[in-house]
Each structure stands twice: as C-alpha cells, then as structure tokens.
C-alpha cells in the first residue's frame, strides 16, 4: 500500500509538497492535464480579505472603491454572515493559488486539486483565455499599472486621478472588445495618406478645370459622414477604447489610465463567460483526483468523508422555491454536466446516442472533456451539451414573464420532449454575456457641430437602462468626453424609446 499523504487534519509545508506531487501525478497520468507551473501561497484570513477587495489580484492600483469593498467584506465576515473562499487562483504563469491557513490537510488537498490543477488547466487551454489573456504578462502589467497610477497621483493630484478612474470604472463593463482580430484603423497611416492625397492635388492643380461646367456634385456632407465614421472606427461598442483614442481633450496620462482599466476588464472578460465551465472543470478535476488518491490509499476513509462533505456543499443546488435559491450554482451545474458527459461517453442510452452522436459511446472520457474544456464557453457549452437526462434530473423549466400579460408568468417549457430544446436554448442564453450586458455603442460624433457624442442602446425585450445609474454613468462619460453626450435607447424597429442628454461638469480648477 502506498504511503498516506498525511494523518489527521494538520499539515506543514512538506505535507503540501507531498500533496501537490500526488495531485500532479494523477492530473498528468490519469487525466492528461496540461498546466502552467504552479505556485502555492499560504495566506491568512486578512490577506484573503485583501485579495477579495482587489478582485483577487495580488497587486493592484489604489482606489477608494477597493477600500469600500474591503470594509464591506470585513464587516460581513466578522459578523459571520460570510465565509471566505478556501482558495483564490490567478490566471497567470506561474499559476498562483492562494490557500487559507485555516484549511485542514484534506481541504488543502481538495483546494490544490481544484485550483492548481483544475482551474490551471482550464486557464491554459480554453480558447477564450488563450485569445484574450496574457498569463505571462499579467503580473508585470499590474505592477506597471500600480506604479503608473501612483506616479500620476504624484504629478497630477489624487483628485484628478480619482476622477478619471471613477469614470473609467463606471464604463468598465463597456470597455471590452467582444470580437477578436478586429482590424483597427491606423490613424497615423490615415493621416499620411491624407497628406499624400493633398500633395497630389496640389501637383496636378490646374485652374482651368474650375471653369469646366460640372453636374450637380455629390452630397459632400453625406460622404464625409461615412468617411468620418470610418475614421473614428464607428460604430464602436468598446466605449473606453473609443474615449482613449478619440476623446478630444484628454491628457495623455488620462488616456493611459483608461487603457489600463480597459486591459484589466479585458483580462477578466473570459472569466465572466466561463463561470460554469471553469468551476465545473475544477470541481470535476478535484473530484477525480481525490477519488483516485483515496483508491490508492493515500488519504484515509475519514479524510475522504470530510472531502465528500465539503464537495457536497460546493455542488449543492437549491431548488427555485428554496429560500436559499439564488440562481444556478455554477459549481453544481458545471460539475453535473461534466459528469453527465462522462456518462454519455462511457455508457450512453439510446436518447444520448440520438442527441450526442459525436461523443456517445466514444469511451475516451478525458479526450472528450479536454476538447470541450478547450473549445467552448458557457453559452455554447450548455447549448451543446446539456442533456435531456440532466434537464429531467434537475427538473428544469422555463418561465416567461411578460409585464403585459395579465394572467401572470407563463411556464413556457418544461423538462419534457417538447421542451428540452427550448429550455436548453434559454439556459444557454442566460449564460451569454453578449446577451446579459446592455448593448451600447457609439454611433456618431457631431464633429462639425457641437461635438456631441451619440450612443445607442439597442433595447432587447424591453429591458431599458436603470435611469439613475444610466445618468450617473453618462455623467462620467460626458466628463471624459468634455462635450455633451446623448444616449438614445432604440428598440429592434429603431423606434426611439428614450433619450438621455448629459453635459460635462466643469473641471474644478484645472491644474
């Protein structure tokens, strides 16, 4: 029999090393995971709270809002309203996992398997993370950001920097490029080309041409509108990018701050799109590793039961009428789907063969899962792999709440033959960030007039913006743009539902 990794609940750093080695062995040999090098850091509860308040990152620039979050978390933690996470893991290379010192040895094993191998594999292999995040560079970049913000505060005053960052934070959710590989117009090249054209005109200038009678010329203004929009890269849904590049009166350092906030938002973008998958992967991985370690006799029955206790808590999914219900638990849904895929791959039913001809009975569980983990995000993952069996098991149903409907909320579909596809489509849509975030884009700038910035919000299903918040965000936007900003809410038929116009506040005593 192999040696036990630890006895009881106590651990020391050698234990952690042994645990990590054992987990790595299973992860590599049995699961075929491919991970970044691991770095494991043991931290205290206070440090965990610190990490909470700065979105989990080990270093971050200073801003009051992080202090607010810290105060909030601290208060609820002290009162016992909130337990702290067992771990935080950072998508970087090396992949840093923070473990709480309070965890027992079993919990440390669970957490190492979960974060240092599950999440780590997902970060390294999922296409969204590959596309959008630079795991090698993120820590250096954060360090740069922190110092840059500090220098700006020294040079331009804390109030000014705070004003810019406040505004940038308000727009953070709209500071993301949603589509990869968008060719950005090179403004400098544009400028050169314009210069060359002018030179050419001068060279071939002949006053005689003026006397030649011409037909009615094309509408110059219409042309220039097209041209202008193109030059500005409009329509543009990345508001921070647009401001950084085109706001007329921002100082260079302000543009750099916007850029920093934008980059960080972009860094987190894949995480918001893959919550279910990411947690599902990590939970599935820790479950497999722990089970294997138990089978090998490296953890005792007692420790394994302790693990099962925590595991069950993590993947608990309350039903909709339970007071504890607050939406789908990504751990529960993700883990259930991963296990379901395992079942389909190894012992499919006829139904599965019909629904999932590609993977049913393929028998290579890890091959299929690794492929899924690499190439899907929540929306496509659910849309593709949520099986009728799981829908039945979780007893999913779809509610349609139309305020116009007097009779009440309609049950649109349930977990039956007629409803499977609709329920699945709807659940996938709930996990589509493109659908969750308001669709707002810059459509035009009145350059020849009062330089007003015009934004459109394309209203979907009648969900308009919250008025107070919208006004506040627009105020921030106007402050950065320094001219009027108008936001028009239009529905699918281009009917204007509402228009906001906000003017910038005067800058208090420009330094």
């Amino acid at each position: 029999m192999t040696e036990r990794l630890f006895e009881g609940a106590d651990w020391d750093f050698h234990t952690l090393q042994r645990i990590t080695d054992a987990c790595e062995e299973v992860a590599k040999n049995d699961l075929g995971l491919d991970v970044y090098p691991n770095q494991i850091e043991v931290i205290t509860a206070e440090q965990m709270l610190d990490a909470y308040s700065s979105v989990g990152m080990p270093l971050f620039y200073k801003h009051w809002s992080f202090g607010k979050h810290f105060a909030y978390h601290e208060a609820s933690y002290r009162k016992g309203l909130m337990g702290l996470a067992y771990e935080i893991v950072i998508n970087s290379s090396p992949c840093i996992s923070y473990l709480m010192e309070e965890n027992t040895a079993t919990m440390q094993t669970l957490v190492i398997a979960h974060a240092a191998f599950g999440h780590n594999h997902f970060f390294k292999n999922n296409y969204l993370f590959k596309q959008w995040t630079d795991a090698d560079g993120i820590l250096d970049y954060l360090d740069f950001a922190k110092n840059y913000v500090m220098q700006c505060e020294e040079r331009f005053g804390r109030a000014e920097v705070e004003r810019t960052l406040d505004a940038a934070h308000a727009l953070m959710s709209h500071g993301i490029d949603r589509y990869p590989g968008k060719k950005k117009l090179d403004l400098r090249a544009e400028e050169k080309r314009a210069g060359r054209r002018r030179q050419h005109e001068e060279e071939v200038f002949n006053d005689l041409w003026r006397t030649v009678p011409a037909g009615k010329s094309k509408s110059r203004s219409a042309l220039s509108v097209e041209r202008r929009r193109k030059l500005l890269g409009l329509p543009q849904e990345n508001l921070l990018y647009f401001l950084e590049k085109s706001a007329p009166r921002l100082a260079p350092w302000q543009r750099e701050l916007l850029r920093i906030v934008r980059h960080i938002a972009q860094y987190f973008y894949p995480q918001s799109q893959t919550k279910v998958m990411n947690e599902g992967t990590a939970t599935y991985v820790h479950y497999r590793i722990m089970t294997k370690l138990h089978q090998q006799g490296r953890i005792t029955d007692g420790n394994f039961l302790e693990f099962l206790g925590s595991h069950t808590n993590v993947v608990f999914q309350p039903e909709f009428d339970d007071p504890r219900f607050s939406g789908f638990n990504p751990y529960a849904l993700g883990f259930a789907m991963m296990q379901d895929i395992e079942r389909i791959v190894t012992s499919p039913s006829d139904e599965d063969r019909e629904w999932f001809p590609d993977i049913a009975g393929k028998n290579d569980v890890m091959g299929v899962l690794r492929d899924v983990w690499a190439n899907y995000r929540d929306e496509s993952f659910i849309g593709q792999f949520l099986s009728p069996k799981l829908m039945r098991q979780l007893r999913m149903f779809h509610l349609h709440d139309d305020p116009e409907e007097r009779a009440g909320i309609r049950v649109d579909a349930i977990h039956d033959e007629r409803g499977f596809r609709r329920v699945r489509r709807e659940l996938a849509r709930q996990h589509d960030v493109g659908y969750i975030d308001a669709n707002i884009e810059v459509v035009d700038v009145d350059l020849s007039g009062d330089r007003r910035l015009i934004l459109h919000h394309h209203v979907i299903k009648g969900a308009q913006l919250n008025e107070t918040d919208a006004k506040r965000v627009l105020q921030h936007l106007a402050d950065l743009w320094t001219y009027d900003v108008s936001l028009i809410e239009v529905d699918a038929n281009d009917k204007v539902l509402r228009e906001y116009v906000v003017s910038p506040r005067p800058i208090p005593a420009a330094a």
Partner: protein, 427 residues
C-alpha cells in the same frame, strides 16, 4: 515540474489600509453623520470603542449600465407540478418570488466597522478640535527622565556592571592578560618538576606572567561605564474628570441629557490627550455623593440644592486620591442654576480657594428646558454668583445651553475661549 510553495502569512498586513483610508476620506461627511448618530446612543466610555456604523450607500455608489424591466425569461431548477402553458400568479408568494439571474440584491445601506482611532478622529474632527489638542499638549508637559546609552563618567550608583565587565573582558583578551588557569598550571608544573635547571626557567616564566597580571588589571578605570540618563519633556499622562451635577427635582430628563452629552464630549476630548482618564461622578442635591455612571444619569434623587456640598466632596476626593501634581484635573458642572441663597458665600469661597487653584479647567454649564433660548433665561442664582467670581478674575468657563444642537458649538466655544485667555464675551 518545480512547485513553489510560499508562506505569505508573515507578509505585512494592512495591504488594504491605504484603500480604506481613501474610502473613508471620500465618505467623510457620510461617515461623520453616522458617527454622530451612533455616539448619541452610547454610554460615555463606549464612545471610544469604535464599532459598526451604517452609511447610506448613495454617495458611495459605483454606477454601471444596468438593465431592468422588460420581458424576462428564466430557466429554473426544481419543477414539481408545472406543465407547459401554466400561468403563475405574479407578486404572490411561492414561485413568483424568485429573483431572476442578474438581479443583484441592491444594498441601500452600507455597514462596516470603524476602528477606535478612526471613530474618535471622525468624532472630534467634526468638532474641529484636533488643532486645539495640539496646542494644549505643550501646557501639560513635565520633565521626565529616560535612559540614553552609556557614559564614561557619572555617579557610582549608576555603574553599569554588565557593560563594564564586558569591556574589561575585551581589553583583557586583547592585551593577552594571563588567565588564572595558566598560572595554576605553571605552578603545578613547577611543583612536579624535578630538574633544577628547568625549574629555574619555569620560575622565571611564572614571575613574568605574574608581573604581567599586575600590569594589566582585571578591571581598569578605562572599562568603567555609567548608565546615562536624559531628561525629556513628558506630558502628564493621566487626567481625572469630575462631573458634577445637580440632580434635584428641578432638573428634567432633557437637562440631564444635555449634561450627559457635554460630559461625553469632554471625556472623548480628554481621552485623546491623556493615556489614562478617570471619571468621578458627583451628584448632589443638598448632599453630595460619589456615584457610578448609571446612578449619576438615571438614579432617582430629590431634595434641595446646595452646590457647596458637591464642591466640598470634590475637594475631599482630590485631596484623598488625586494629587494635583500627578493628575490633570478637569471639572465640569451642570446645573439648572438653582442654589439656595445662603449657600452662595460658601460656594464662592470653596471655588476660589480650593477648587480652581488645582483645576486645569473648570466649566460650568447651565442647562435649560428645550425651547427656551439663552436670552429668555433670566440669570439664575448660581450664574450670578459665578459671573461675579469670573469678573473678579477667577478662571471659570461658563455657558448656557438649552438645545441638544447647541452642545457641539458650546463645547467648541468653551475650549477655544480658554485659548484666547479669559476674555469676556457674553452671548
């Protein structure tokens, strides 16, 4: 693959401190309001304990574009009885209660914990007192002594033995003074020696060693070190605060509340300047007694009014327990101004001869019913008496208060007035 395991637990904490301070600075006015409100509900001593405050989230809001309303679709787990096409009652209990995803619970009030220092800072900042505290501290200084290294001269009582021996040892080693064992060894060798010639050599060597031992003393005056002391200005670190209050029947709850607020401020103020603050509560009717805080503010009492009894009690307590050279003595008296006429003479005498000379500060607060402005109160007997004393040069501070809101300004005013040395300014 190499795995790094790092223990971060020993890293300096308080990484978020800076952010927290920024947050507090930004929320200053809100937090101050909350602090003021919280402090009204507390006992005097508890004011300093910091603790939880709640501020409206409004000013600290971080806005985002959020959508709301419209047609909503949601997929939920745990269907029990619904079939397609059912309608659920809106706004009723049961299933309609479910919150759709993305509808985060909005927190309209924000609760968090302030540390003791933060709490007091905000509390006093509101009073605009910090500057005052700084100026005052100079007045309460006295000389103290503290160790400051070693010196080569001093009184024998201050010899630092360990340091002296250490230096001597170093010197002996450096100069190669023969050790006792070496000499003993040599002597033993001589005793055991049989060869006469060798014996002579050994004896000569022994002589040499002995001579060297004499030349190099075990402790040289050069080695001696004395502990050095320095006098440093040191604030007297303790203060006692006397709260005197008339609790006769004429004092209403409102008046007591005003008095309590005043005492509370004084306590907080003193607490910030002195490490150790004692409070003595003396209540009086026609008799005075020292009581605890609860009894002081809430214990029932009735009787006539003799202010001198309280002053006498205070005088005795000072004599017994609080030596004026060790203690900073502050006194605040609250009363509705009633005093029996026959007592005036005695009160005045006690105050000028016994109390005022030992006090840093004596404040008299005349509390009135709410609604009556300071002008409406005709001068009471006590006020008239104190006014007379003050005009004849006694260092008395006195104010009239009838509204809760006046407490802060009056407190501020009292301390500031003392700064500009007793100049007469009747409201």
């Amino acid at each position: 693959m190499p795995i790094h395991i790092i223990d971060r637990r020993l890293n300096p904490g308080g990484k978020s401190l800076e952010n927290r301070q920024r947050f507090l600075r930004r929320a200053k006015s809100l937090v101050q309001g909350a602090v003021k409100k919280t402090s009204q509900e507390r006992d005097i001593k508890d004011v300093l304990e910091g603790g939880e405050v709640t501020i409206p989230l409004d000013g600290m809001h971080e806005p985002r574009f959020r959508r709301e309303g419209g047609t909503r679709d949601m997929v939920l787990p745990g269907n029990k009885k619904f079939v397609e096409g059912d309608y659920l009652q809106r706004s009723g209990q049961g299933s309609a209660k479910d919150s759709g995803p993305g509808e985060g619970d909005s927190e309209d009030a924000f609760r968090f914990v302030l540390s003791r220092d933060e709490f007091v800072d905000l509390f006093l900042d509101d009073l605009e007192l910090p500057d005052l505290a700084k100026r005052k501290i100079a007045q309460t200084e006295s000389e103290g002594i503290q160790r400051a290294g070693y010196t080569t001269s001093g009184s024998p009582a201050n010899i630092s033995v360990s340091r002296t021996v250490k230096l001597a040892l170093a010197r002996r080693i450096a100069l190669k003074r023969p050790r006792k064992e070496e000499i003993e060894e040599l002597e033993a060798a001589i005793a055991a020696c049989t060869d006469e010639d060798e014996r002579v050599v050994l004896l000569a060597e022994l002589e040499k060693l002995k001579a060297k031992t004499k030349r190099i003393p075990f402790i040289d005056p050069l080695d001696i070190r004395y502990r050095r002391f320095e006098t440093v200005p040191k604030p007297v670190a303790q203060a006692v605060m006397f709260c005197l209050m008339d609790v006769s029947g004429s004092m209403s709850e409102h008046m007591k509340d005003l008095a309590k607020r005043f005492y509370m401020l004084l306590y907080v103020f003193l607490k910030r300047r002195y490490k150790h603050v004692e409070i003595v509560f003396i209540r009086h009717t026609d008799r005075a007694e020292e009581v605890d805080e609860q009894t002081f503010f809430y214990g029932p009492a009735s009787g006539g009014t003799l202010v001198s009894s309280a002053l006498q009690a205070m005088h005795e307590i000072v004599r017994e327990r609080f030596n004026p050279s060790d203690w900073n003595i502050y006194a605040a008296q609250a009363s509705d101004g009633d005093n029996s006429y026959s007592d005036g003479e005695l009160t005045g005498m006690l105050l000028t001869d016994k109390i005022l000379p030992v006090c840093q500060f004596f404040a008299y607060l005349e509390v009135g019913e709410s609604g009556g402005s300071a002008f409406d109160l005709s001068d009471s007997s006590l006020w008239t008496l104190y006014e007379r004393l003050r005009n004849s040069g006694a260092p008395l501070s006195m104010r009239k208060v009838s509204e809760r809101s006046e407490i802060f300004p009056v407190f501020h005013d009292l301390f500031q007035r003392r700064e500009t040395s007793q100049e007469k300014a009747a409201p």
